[in-house]
Subunit: 157 residues, 2 copies
């Protein structure tokens, strides 16, 4: 059976575009740091082990693409520096990170369990991603979802 997807172009696929930004080896790890509140070059470098040059590149790329912004700050007794903070576009990546965390926790954690839990501020219970349709129904299995061409779909050349 020939998959229907073959008739459609992937040139403007938004997953592909997202991966042009996020698909390089360290980008998501850097974002994990920023979401954890680590905003400074050297803290990131020490924690992640990313080579300086690569970290420089990733950070400027993320700034250029609008995911992070450089914010000046000044610690008393030090010269002005800048730190990296999430833009709105960057904050919107939160579900992606939580989804990755959930997958990693399920399949890649050490026997003693996950090193990090994200919990709801109000009740303390663990937070996970869920799939839900616009009508409010929960979607559990991938089989309950049908892909279909959206408004921007293009037939293949």
């Amino acid at each position: 059976m020939r998959p229907a997807a073959l008739d459609w172009s992937v040139e403007n696929c938004t997953i592909g575009r997202a991966m042009e930004i996020l698909g390089e080896r360290w980008t998501v790890v850097v974002l994990r740091e920023v979401f954890s509140g680590v905003r400074r070059f050297d803290d990131m470098r020490v924690r992640t082990g990313v080579p300086r040059q690569v970290l420089t590149n990733r950070l400027s790329m993320l700034v250029e693409r609008g995911v992070l912004r450089r914010e000046p700050y000044r610690e008393p007794g030090s010269r002005p520096r800048h730190e990296y903070r999430l833009t709105e576009m960057g904050l919107d990546l939160w579900p992606v990170l939580v989804a990755l965390l959930g997958w990693g926790d399920r399949h890649l954690a050490d026997p003693e369990g996950a090193p990090l839990a994200v919990t709801h501020r109000d009740c303390g219970a663990e937070v996970r991603v869920a799939l839900r349709c616009a009508e409010g129904h929960d979607v559990t299995a991938p089989r309950d979802v049908v892909p279909r061409p959206g408004p921007g779909a293009r037939r293949r050349a």
Copy 2:
């Protein structure tokens, strides 16, 4: 203010581990194809434009890591071949893909809209990721979530 994250090691971070698998340039794009029902080497190659060698590498890496499996099949009038299918571990990546799709649709789509919509089989409404805690509360803002060390957390050396 010093971020609390600095006290904890990232060596067993499951996001980091997930990105060891998913963090190479084409891996997620390949998975998008498989989730779209494209399972054969050449179809993937033509659609994605990934160089053959890279596609070979990514596919075998994904098989080795347990995300995909190779399945033999035979079209009438052809010799036996094999195709790539998602394992259970691979199927569990579905929320990650949907989260990426949602982010890409919001921030990277062309003006005419997203090329792909995922809809609920039962009601046809669009499917999105949502964050929810174990008590069933919806979580909307990243600020409503507090990270805390999990059972596998390790202090930093």
